[in-house]
Symmetry: C2
């Protein structure tokens, strides 16, 4: 009888590896480029003038691997799709590297891979190359996944964390902290009357709508690990500009607020996996907002602040009570293994 | 005082992550694309007609992470460079994802990253995107690295494991099993009078020489996990052709032979990280051999067998004693965590 769990031999590169690839990975992720089974996938780039490509990677070590609203597989696809989208690239192809702890039920692996296939369909990307390693029991924690991705940057698009200019509007696509608190509450075994569900989603569709609008987008970034506060600090640092945010304009659900209070966390530092920050030229603010609000993932989009010429490199938060304080980058490890 | 080991907070995405990136990763891997620090690296593709790109990935979980002839970092760069080279692609850009166990000495991490930088220089590639995750002590084994790579396939190059044709020559670039037995002997604490040193090396330079020769190359593959026997089976399977190999023509060093005997292993299944198999049209055999032998990594290159029209999908070994047997793909896990 075939094994019901992952064995060390599944990572040997020999017969069991090939069977796992054929019977599990190909069954869910099948596409012509993947099935060639050479050492690398090869595709043709059309020669319609010079073009720009984007390349990114992330590893995923979230614990637990299944959580409300997603799992490590969905996260691994969405996270890399989103990193491509944040430079304005249309995601084309992904790679997937699996590091599996011996003993992981094959049914769990299959559930994760099926979820990756769903996320790929939703985002319109394909996994064209992969790798499977197995380490002995106790030498990893169930499953780690790395994805890398290649995308194409449409001509005329020039988006970077370094492009924020004083006067620009800072737009946030929706409520924050849902992913971080959903995972954290599950891990800590805390239940709330408000259901906490990860916001994990591919953002390339939303970005495509933003780029089609009349608005001029300077920066896009998804506030994942480190949360909104860290992302804003990155933009302020790269652009050498100040950012001023009004706390009352940053949407936080009652569930996240309650969970943050109980766990002693700040939603401004909690991870998101389906939200984005857009820094746009002020005259295009309305156009971008309208485009975002028409998209299911941007319905709650709103302006949360502005780029300023004072305090370059710093983020200043105007609190709900009218005070002002420096909003620093995350220090310490508020939410380990959140993605 | 700054920590001397990796902390969970180094993977938080916040201040310590940024410091680690700036003070360690950038110091060794610095290049303009990496330093942009957006969510993805962006580069321009020249528009000199249509072109083909290649994409691949591998994760590395080798244990121990330092071994004679290399370390997990060199392996991670060479492995992905080699996977690109095996479809005839010139490697361009790599990504690197680090999964670090809390408590890893920063000096060890730095040694690995410096070694990656050396391997990148040797191969002529750059790491343009990266990611760092830290998991709690006991949830990983020191350090795992994933690399993905993008390369450009020169026009006219058409190399695939599916292209072997009856009559083709099977060329091997050098002695086998050096990597697998170097790591395995170290792990088992066995010392030999013959020094065992991993063959880990970037093969793109050797492939470039092969492609410049008059010979017509049908397949290239590096016999890593699963060894030469598994690689030949992959080619036979993809090409639906038979392969006949003469054991006496396959070079094995005295050190590898002795270590294999002591450990009960077969060099034909032992991992290599700097060897390649080339399947070439018979009329180009001499040209390819000469090109390989002129290169430092191909000095010992020789023909080890031939593609045949009989027993399609199978590899047959003619033993040193004149017997013939089916050489199957690796089954079981002869050498876990060898790469």
């Amino acid at each position: 009888m075939a094994s019901e769990t992952v064995l060390l031999a599944h990572g040997s590169g020999g017969r069991l590896t090939h069977e796992l690839v054929r019977d599990l990975f190909f069954r869910h992720l099948s596409n012509p480029l993947l099935e060639v089974q050479d050492d690398a996938a090869v595709w043709s780039v059309a020669a319609a003038g010079p073009s720009r490509l984007a390349l990114t990677t992330d590893s995923y070590v979230v614990s637990p691997i299944f959580f409300p609203g997603g799992d490590i597989g969905k996260l691994a696809v969405c996270g890399t799709v989103n990193d491509l989208a944040m430079v304005g690239a249309e995601p084309l192809y992904l790679t997937a590297g699996f590091i599996i702890e011996e003993g992981l039920p094959l049914a769990d692996l299959e559930r994760v891979v099926a979820s990756m296939a769903d996320a790929c369909r939703e985002a319109g990307v394909r996994i064209v190359a992969g790798d499977t390693k197995v380490v002995d029991r106790g030498k990893a924690d169930r499953l780690f996944i790395n994805t890398a991705g290649v995308g194409r940057v449409p001509s005329g698009v020039n988006i970077s964390g370094a492009n924020a200019r004083p006067g620009d509007s800072v737009i946030l696509s929706g409520r924050i902290g849902e992913h971080g608190l959903a995972v954290m509450s599950l891990r800590e075994g805390i239940e709330f009357s408000f259901p906490l569900v990860s916001d994990c989603a591919p953002l390339n569709g939303l970005v495509s709508e933003i780029l089609k609008s009349e608005g001029r987008v300077h920066c896009l970034r998804d506030p994942t690990r480190g949360g909104l506060a860290t992302t804003l600090n990155e933009i302020a640092g790269q652009s050498r500009a100040g950012i001023e945010i009004q706390e009352s304009l940053v949407p936080v659900s009652e569930g996240v607020r309650a969970a943050c209070e109980m766990l002693g966390l700040d939603p401004l530092y909690a991870a998101n996996e389906g939200r984005l920050v857009a820094v746009v030229a002020p005259e295009g603010e309305d156009a971008v907002l309208e485009a975002m609000q028409r998209h299911p993932l941007g319905r709650e989009a709103g302006v949360i602040g502005r780029v300023s010429s004072s305090h370059p490199g710093r983020v200043v938060l105007e609190t709900a009570y009218g005070g002002r304080r420096i909003l620093d980058m995350l220090s310490g490890a508020q939410l380990p293994r959140i993605c």
